[in-house]
Amino acid sequence: MYETHYHRAGSVDEATKLMADAEGGKYVAGGQTLIPTMKQRLAAPDSLIDLRHIADLKGVTVNGKDVRIGAGTPHAEVAGSTQLQAVCPGICYLAGHIGDPHVRHMGTIGGSIANNDPAADYPSAMLALDATIHTSKREISAGDFFIGMFETALEEDEIVTAVSFTAPDKCAYSKFPNPASRYAMAGVFVAKSGDGVRVGVTGAGMDGVFRWEEAEAALASDFSAAALDGLSVNAGDMLEDMHGSSEYRANLVKVMAKRAVAAIS
């Protein structure tokens, strides 16, 4: 790791002020991507502005079907929230299968979606749940928030403060992990509500997380795994690396989608 300057923010306002004052600053939340990258000397921010001690960013609130998760809430807390489990078990399952216990106790939902790793789990849920991303400046719908691989609508100094969504009638997440990293090679979040069905796919798409709209339409009229039999995602739009060809990933998207649907139908 190169030398860096550490700043601890006590509030969102203080954090944005620290960022304004810093040259080449970076926010750090759980640090589960940024810190290893810095240790490998692949990232070298001059200043780190630590968001972990901002009380306002923490906690899960469930009001009827309205869910709000503070951006600084670690995955383990989402996974273990009994209130959330009662209304939206799919997201608890997802959070409980991110990384390993160390990652789940350090990594946060805000950090995950702000980083928008193409293989991260949460973005698929945000899209499928039609979540709203609250930031230090505005509210952004998930559909507008995720732009591409590691790319979001966030401005340089903008901080994710929370996500909110209305719990669907049913939802499930099915993931095929990369054998080495355990990131998603294909992770599919399916949410069914009165408005219809939404399907968010992570780990597979060349442009990062995406909605599989063809599957959504098919499931809206017949919510069963069999409804997906005749469908497929275009392999040409899928990622390819040593762990999985684009054809293999296209196959996994379909298999994981069917398994998510089967789990709740």
Partner: protein
Amino acid sequence: MGIEGIGARVARKEDKRFITGKGRYTDDMSVPGMKHAAFVRSPHAHAVIKGIDTSEAKKMPGVIGVLAGAEMKTDGIGSLICGWMIHSKDGSPMNMGDWRPLAETKVRYVGDAVAIVVADTKAQARDAAEAVKVDYEVLPAVTSAVDALKPGAPQIHDNAPGNQIYDWEIGDLDAVDKAIASAAHVTTLDIVNNRLVPNAMEPRAALGVYDEAEDHYTCWTTSQNPHVARLVMSAFYNVAPENKLRVIAPDVGGGFGSKIYIYPEEITCLWASKKTGVPVKWVADRTESFLTDAHGRDHVTTIKMAFDADNKITALKADTIANLGAYMSLFSSVVPTYLHAILYSGQYVIPAIHCNMRTAYTNTVPVDAYRGAGRPETTYALERVVETAARELGVSPAELRRKNFIREWPYQTPVILQYDSGDYEASLDAAMKAADYDGFPERKAEAESRGKKRGIGMSCYIEACGIAPSQAIGSLGAGVGLWESAEIRVNAVGTVEILTGSHSHGQGHETTFAQLVSDRFGVPIDSVSVVHGDTDKVQMGMGTYGSRSGPVGMSAVVKALDKVEKKAKMIAAHLLEADESDIVIENGQVKVAGTDKALGWHEVALNAYTAHNLPADMEPGLKETAFFDPANFSFPAGCHICEVEVDPDTGKVEIVQFVASDDFGNIINPMIVEGQVHGGLAQGIGQALLENASYDPETGQLLTASYMDYTMPRADDLPSYHVSNTVTPSPLNPLGIKGCGEAGAIGSPPALINAITDAIGNNNLNMPATPQRVWAAINAA
């Protein structure tokens, strides 16, 4: 046996310090004035060094010295060597390319060391290492051995035309070709033995200390064989004469072969300590471990097995190209030859065998022995071709093996080795029973009803441990002898110290070696200490690798114990006024047999040292030394059976059962043996399902240089094992033991791949059988 003697399931003494974080590893060592090193490493797989500019780096904060290869050469530090001469079939010696500890003119793999920076802190050393400017002229690279041997491939060493190191053979080619030509059936298989990264938990490290006042060097290092390290650093690398060089390998966190070799870093740290006047410590980070620890395996093989009309094997022919990387590591030449090809008889009577082995330089890190060292490659090729043949012939894989088993010992194979003892059918029967082999069809049908493809596969392996004897291996090209030494010191109060040239880096010697003493003299193992890993304390040793600590290291201990026992009995006979032949040692008492006349063990020891009343002409003291040079290898063997379920939608393989029935000869501590088998199986399953070192063929960059891409086995990848033992004692060592350290990694990969190919109905599958590969193979079937 006593509660702590031979055969007792004694908990490991050393685990208290390991599991409480109190082990003392090289990185825990600290000496006054110690500074920290970082290496400047090549980012290119193949490049000419046109210049090295250290001027900026030398001005960086905290920097004490920046040293490069030219200066090292001027100081007379020698090149790294391979210690085993192999001759090609045309009689020419192998082409050993020059390996400088710090490259001066050319770099040949990503990670090749170019310079060392010594600074006050590790971070400062790393910062300054980045400031060393190396002017490279990048050359085309080649990473596969098959490609490296093709005409027009980039030339890596000037003295190895076409990148060939040797073209070696063993066996009777004419006889094999005739048998194949006249065979009733020939099975042919093209297979790849995938390249592996050793991944010891503790990264390599070295602390070099030069003491100007004494003109003496001390090197703490992560070594499996500190005496060999001292010998090689002294005799070949010219670091210091042996009497002025002390090598200490303290607690070492795993080796698996990768810490046998003497690497550039420990030599450079010692030299740099003298040059800079400060003690120099280097500890690899995990990326350096991936890039610079010697890798394992990497064979490409065509194997043919011929049968007569009665399904008896008539011949075996193997043709292999092996990748040895950019330089010849210490034992690299012997791994594909005398640790590999001479095992091709397996457990079978095969009248004619031939193996041709071509080895090549590539722009990859050197390849050398890794748990199993050559025998996993043999076993994988052999046990896959046998299983394939059974399928082609339409006979049971178990029965085809049974029909061809060797049934008399000693058995002379056509390829040098003579097997000591065994009962291969006993292992096969035990494994089949444990696996309920006969019940498999029902389980397969049940799995099918759940949409899963279930398969079963087996592997009947043999391996060779405790490489020996010294005279024979010398005639085959070895630069060293492979005996072991031991010293038993009985202290005046009866406690005992075992000084051994074996080195424990996870094997549990502090317990098992002590059990030998407890068994012999009845003292508790808590009163027995094992001293190892320090050239100033132990007179000489050849270290631990090739499962040799049991058959060779412990045998030396037994020989020394024999001498101690003899002297103790002479003392007791003198004191008890009895005949020496009537003295027995029982439960810590030295007694006249059949009487109540006895001395405590401690009383005999005390008398040896007070020397007030010893037999005439007897020297005081109770301390003996022995060397043991075995007459032959020992030959552990066994049967592994694996059953899998494959998810056809994703290609994911689940191991539903894994049975290992092994014959390791006599066993000292069954719990430790089980631990060794479990660990070996984890590594074998890792190779078969998960692990693969992959280089970019164009750039020579290691693509799997972290755990994000290199799949290490984790608990949830592995099943619960069913392990058991059959016993045929080895007649070649006093304990009748055969060695157990590598068998798990040797026997398991073919059993697993045979199971998967059985499940999916496609035999065209290479390791690692990742979900993607299995899915593709299902869809290609």
